[in-house]
Symmetry: C2
Subunit: 431 residues, 2 copies
Amino acid sequence: MIRLDSSDPTFAEDFARLLTVKREISEDVDETVRGIIAGVVKGGDTALVDYTRQFDRLGEGFTASALRVTEDEIAAALQACPPEALEALRFAAARIEAFHAGQVPGDRMETDALGVTSGWRWTALESVGLYVPGGTASYPSSVLMNAIPARVAGVPRIVMVVPMPDGQSNPLVLAAAHLSGVHEVYRVGGAQAVAALAYGTETIAPVAKVVGPGNAYVAAAKRRVFGQVGIDMIAGPSEVLILADGHANPDWIAADLLAQAEHDVAAQSILITDSAELAEAVEAAVERALTTLPRQEIARASWRDYGAIVRVRHFDEAVPLVDRLAPEHLEIETQDAEALSKKIRNAGAIFLGSHTPEAIGDYVGGPNHVLPTARSARFSSGLGVLDFMKRTTILACTPESLRALGPAAITLGRSEGLEGHARSVAIRLNL
Amino acid sequence: MIRLDSSDPTFAEDFARLLTVKREISEDVDETVRGIIAGVVKGGDTALVDYTRQFDRLGEGFTASALRVTEDEIAAALQACPPEALEALRFAAARIEAFHAGQVPGDRMETDALGVTSGWRWTALESVGLYVPGGTASYPSSVLMNAIPARVAGVPRIVMVVPMPDGQSNPLVLAAAHLSGVHEVYRVGGAQAVAALAYGTETIAPVAKVVGPGNAYVAAAKRRVFGQVGIDMIAGPSEVLILADGHANPDWIAADLLAQAEHDVAAQSILITDSAELAEAVEAAVERALTTLPRQEIARASWRDYGAIVRVRHFDEAVPLVDRLAPEHLEIETQDAEALSKKIRNAGAIFLGSHTPEAIGDYVGGPNHVLPTARSARFSSGLGVLDFMKRTTILACTPESLRALGPAAITLGRSEGLEGHARSVAIRLNL
């Protein structure tokens, strides 16, 4: 764990080093992925089934007719879920839906003083593919967070792919798909599933955009199919930054740091505080809490390798540090949390006050938990309804308004050496 | 030029072939670009100057101190512009600014029935780099279209890079930079300029996002730096699709098809019509107009290799064809243009009626001319203010509202095997 102090003479360099710590191991899987995508493009269902048999250890009995998860299987999954968990999923889904409903953008059409009518219209994507990882990283909450904004946007076809290695599936994942309005579910994963979504096979019609987290193969496949389809961000390891003053409860802060650290050995938890006492108390509290945490091995490695406690003299010093870190999650547990939050430019999501642990936002707060990682909050936003819509601009001139605009367009066309552009305007004005 | 007819028995296959025609020659420059980026990351200004001397044919006299274009040079460029062109640029800038001002998104904060406060805040990116090509593809109108939305978004630092091969610059490009509020201009281009924007050098501070069109080297560099910074779309060759009925003027339609074709031999112009007479008349009009067009060699190659005239029995047949083509520009010159436009899902920009040639939108209409190409209007939008802003979601619970949400979060955390998540909530509720 790294301890920094803004009053140290080497602080600037120390902090710069913290910023550039590389947490992701970039496996070089690009050649393998290229081959898998080419295989699915060429072989369709046959290739998709072959890869799935191989990577998910399914036998010869697995054929193209088993690719799609049936309505009966989904109904059975709903039955198999613990009722309490299903109820919690429903509660979360309703809150996520309500929050995202406020993000649906408005259309606009206006006619200006010259008589030119212009504006735009938002439309939903025609189809979307949602990748859901298998195994231990198969989170029903992520299904809700990806699918519900697509439903709110009005996407008429939402497709989900989820690998079922050794034939094992997570009933809560299928239940979440059902609750959030997914239209089709296929039991495939990896680069082969991304290829099927992007290019289509006999069984899986292609989609316009692929979203959702995945391992190195999935990430490489998304990069490769970008252009053929849209993709969302490439997610990196998760991270939290907590600003807390001397009034904060060290056990609560420690719990939040560890909730992040338990995700992944590459996760990162950072505390910035103006209180030496809090810094010390949190450090001790983390050690205490670790001893009873089920995922303590993961959390301990993350905290040891990437955790940090930064002492500042005043929170005004913290603001530029936050903006440079551009954290995925920012908790502010200070007396003036709201005022401080307004000074921050770069953060994926902000959690205000000591009664808003980040985990609330992972599940039931309402805002999306798919957020920019690895400092990309400097230039991108969390997932939302806009990611499932696109804007078409509209322009309409009357003969009179074309006469008002035309001369400038002709001048600019000619000044750019594009006489054909100029003529397409001039011909309508008899110029 | 391809002629298709929806009543032909082979139409489905013919149209599918039209969709998959590959117009872009993908040069394999990735290894070269990788080397250039690594060079700039390691060597900073020294490497940037070396590459610029080499690629832009500048002598030993070109040093780091000459990288930045001075205020005096920009003032001199303004003096050197033809007054009519400068006036047209000012007119265009004002219209583009007015249109984009309507795109600034609103913030939101609401407290729900449970007492949970949530919402979001939009903030401008802290800095943006705008790539402007040199030579013949150096369009002042593109400077306006890229920089003005950034200014409207409130980006406090807008940087422009433009190569000046053999020391030659385009005064209108510098004037456009001045008019649209660019803060810094550097005379560099190619992959080395993209690397400098993304990673910074001694002279050029790094930016958060790189936008703007460029050649194969620039496109490859943008793909490579994505993640380190944000990027806009990778632009392909331009395209227009025109829907026109028997009332349309064939000479006007021909002029619009050629305005697109003159851009690039890889540009594509397509007409869909329900009138055999119009189809024939447009084909003849294109041939006539070509003979006097300055860029007829380019336009003729584009029309010959990628142009198409598609006959349909009724425009209802055209709607799914349009959505599959997902054109960058869609002109609708039919009697019921507006009603027809509302049936279209996928198009970058729509130009309504016979007095709205696409070239008006290139310059002075108001909407952005940076639009999704190569069928990417299925999943993406033209450039706008939102591309220069990002959204931070905000969540705040009171002790009471945490008590209302907590149990569901604890249940979901445990069901996902994330006990640390559950505990960070439970500890605050004494559960």
